[in-house]
């Protein structure tokens, strides 16, 4: 009976994990005792307010991090390419358990974590026990989910985790734990969806095996063809569809809200500590920060669209020939300009209208991301129909472009 309980309990643990924890705890306890004994011998009686670091506790936290990493990374076929390749030769399907242990959370995990918490019940930092396991587990699994395009689950998990600083500053440990548990549930849901998509297409096809080294780009030994001719933009579908763009914008807005609330909480905390009135830091800084974010987003958009192409005619040519506006090319500037304008105008207008800073941060970030990632043309449409000259931005290529111009 005991053997069966032990088997059930250790089903989600790495091999010999409990033995390792026990031996390590004894070793670190011995190390800790020896250190403090030697310290006492050296300096005499330790001061009353001396904070002793508990070796076994630190060891347990490290073990929990290691356990989470083993569960979410070491036995995860998304990360282990050779394991994945082998798995694809077997009749395994997502309905069955993975051969080297389950990744999903199970009731045994709750029992083990509860036992660990009980073992440290009198320690003020006992909340760190579940967090030491859950935080790395969620982070690693969320990354795997995002690789497999489970953006909703990944975004929800990250969004919930970004609330932690606010809750920590507000001294709400139970709410923080609830928040982490909700994030774990989101990553679990995403992982189950990822599993359902098996077999995964993660290995690049031979189609894209010609790559350009940085050296080749630097010395200009790569030109237009075949680097960019047939396959740049072979996917007509946009990188993000409308729903995904909205989700991304909402997620970034949520991050902005959390950042705003965290800064406000920190300011309130500092004001109480320094016995001074609370300053509205966010209200003052938001227009400037939003302008900077808008500028960066606009530059990223412009870079991703226009880095490998040149103007159809030079600026001098435009002026001399009176072609000030070339719609087929200049449309590439509309989205970056709108992005920049959103960052510069929206926060100022909303704050003038008396909107709360959190709401202003959300709306501003939402619109910036929506403009930068969602405005037409899509990258695929632009690369296939934009009226640009094809080139790469290397000195030699620029010379070659000029060569064509003069031929």
């Amino acid at each position: 009976m005991i053997k069966r309980i032990a088997e059930w309990l250790t089903a989600t643990l790495p091999p010999n994990f409990l033995k390792l924890v026990l031996v390590g705890a004894i070793f670190f306890w011995g190390l800790e005792r020896s250190f403090y004994t030697l310290l006492q011998l050296e300096i005499g009686q330790l001061p009353d307010d001396f904070q002793q670091v508990s070796g076994p506790r630190v060891w347990l936290l490290c073990c929990l991090v290691g356990w989470a990493t083993w569960r979410a990374y070491m036995i995860n076929p998304i990360y282990q390419s050779r394991f994945r390749a082998w798995l694809e030769t077997t009749p395994w399907n997502p309905g069955g358990q993975l051969p080297f242990g389950r990744i999903e959370l199970a009731s045994q995990d709750a029992v083990c974590l509860s036992a660990a918490m009980i073992a440290f019940w009198h320690w003020p930092g006992s909340l760190w026990v579940p967090l030491a396991f859950l935080l790395p587990f969620i982070a690693i699994l969320t990354f795997a989910n995002s690789v497999k395009k489970q953006y909703v689950a990944a975004g929800t998990a990250v969004g919930l985790l970004t609330m932690l600083p606010v809750l920590a500053l507000a001294m709400q440990p139970l709410l923080a734990l609830a928040c982490v548990c909700a994030a774990a549930a989101a990553s679990e849901w995403g992982w189950r969806s990822t599993l359902r998509d098996y077999p995964w297409e993660l290995v690049p096809t031979s189609k894209f095996q010609i790559d350009v080294t940085k050296q080749q780009e630097a010395d200009g030994s790569c030109a237009w063809w075949p680097l960019v001719h047939p396959w740049r933009g072979t996917q007509i579908a946009p990188l993000l569809n409308g729903r995904e763009t909205l989700l991304l914008a909402g997620f970034c807005g949520w991050l902005a809200v959390n950042a705003t609330m965290t800064i406000n909480s920190m300011e309130e905390h500092d004001a109480v500590m320094q016995n001074r009135p609370v300053a509205d830091v966010v209200h003052r800084a938001l227009p400037l920060v939003a302008g900077g974010v808008g500028l960066i987003a606009a530059l990223i958009r412009l870079y991703s669209y226009a880095i490998w192409c040149a103007w159809p005619i030079s600026l001098h040519g435009r002026i001399k020939t009176g072609r000030f506006f070339i719609p087929g090319y200049d449309r590439v500037f509309i989205a970056p300009l709108m992005t920049l304008a959103a960052g510069l105008i929206i926060p100022r207008v909303l704050l003038l209208l008396g909107a709360p800073t959190a709401a202003t941060a959300f709306v501003t970030m939402f619109v910036i991301v929506l403009a930068a990632a969602g405005m037409r043309p899509t990258l695929a449409t632009w690369s296939l129909t934009g009226e640009y000259r094809l080139m790469l931005h290397t000195p030699v290529d620029k010379r070659r472009t000029r060569q064509v111009a003069t031929n």
């Binding site: 095996q209 010609i210 070659r400 064509v404 031929n407």
Partner: protein, 259 residues
Amino acid sequence: MIRVVNLTQHYGVRPVLKNVSLEIPTGELVTILGPNGMGKSTLLAAMAGLLAPQEGYVEFDGVRRRSSPAGELAIRRQVAYLPDAPWLPLTRTGREFLMAVGGLYDRKPSHRMQHAERLLKLFNLTEQADWAMRSYSAGQQKKIALCGTLITEAPYLLLDEPFSGGLDPAGILALKRVLERLAACDKRTVVMTTPVPELIETFSERIVIIKDGQVAANDTVVGLKAAAGVDGPLELALEKLMYPETLENIESYFTEEGL
């Protein structure tokens, strides 16, 4: 069929192509000739989709370039373009390069392997096939770039000065015969530029002469000879059609010297 309609291209102020219109039927081997700097490469680059002309457009089988994503993608899969100075991944072997380029055009791996072998043999590159391309001579690099274009098996081949760049006589002969056969038997459309007319008299079906950014002549070899009133080799006809001022300059050079 390739249709070039009222194409005008200028980079700065000087127009390189002025209202050029052209029709190239499927399966024809066409050579674009012309003095340096008159727009041959620009015309080919516009056909290849590298340039967005200020006016006019290029059509392949009735689909206009850069008019829609699906149409443009369809054209890209039909067209192989070889620039004058082609890019090569120099750290890769010639065989790897050919396999990768063939893959871009969705040729099956087994077919690519076999085709690559035949191309390497054709251009005497079998021995160098598994060397990194940085160790190739200029002529060998040109040959592997040509192989890269041919392995695509694209219905439209746009070749910018394929006979230049250090190609040896064996390579020139192989390329001439292959292009001739591809156009005649495989109904592939080949458009190429060259500044050297001697090479193309025997196999080019039609010659387009570009001068001052405009089409000065567009005819068969026989037609061009008749237009120039020349009964001898094509070279003489081209001298009259393309370089009349050069002939006058030669005459005046010797006349003024009293020779």
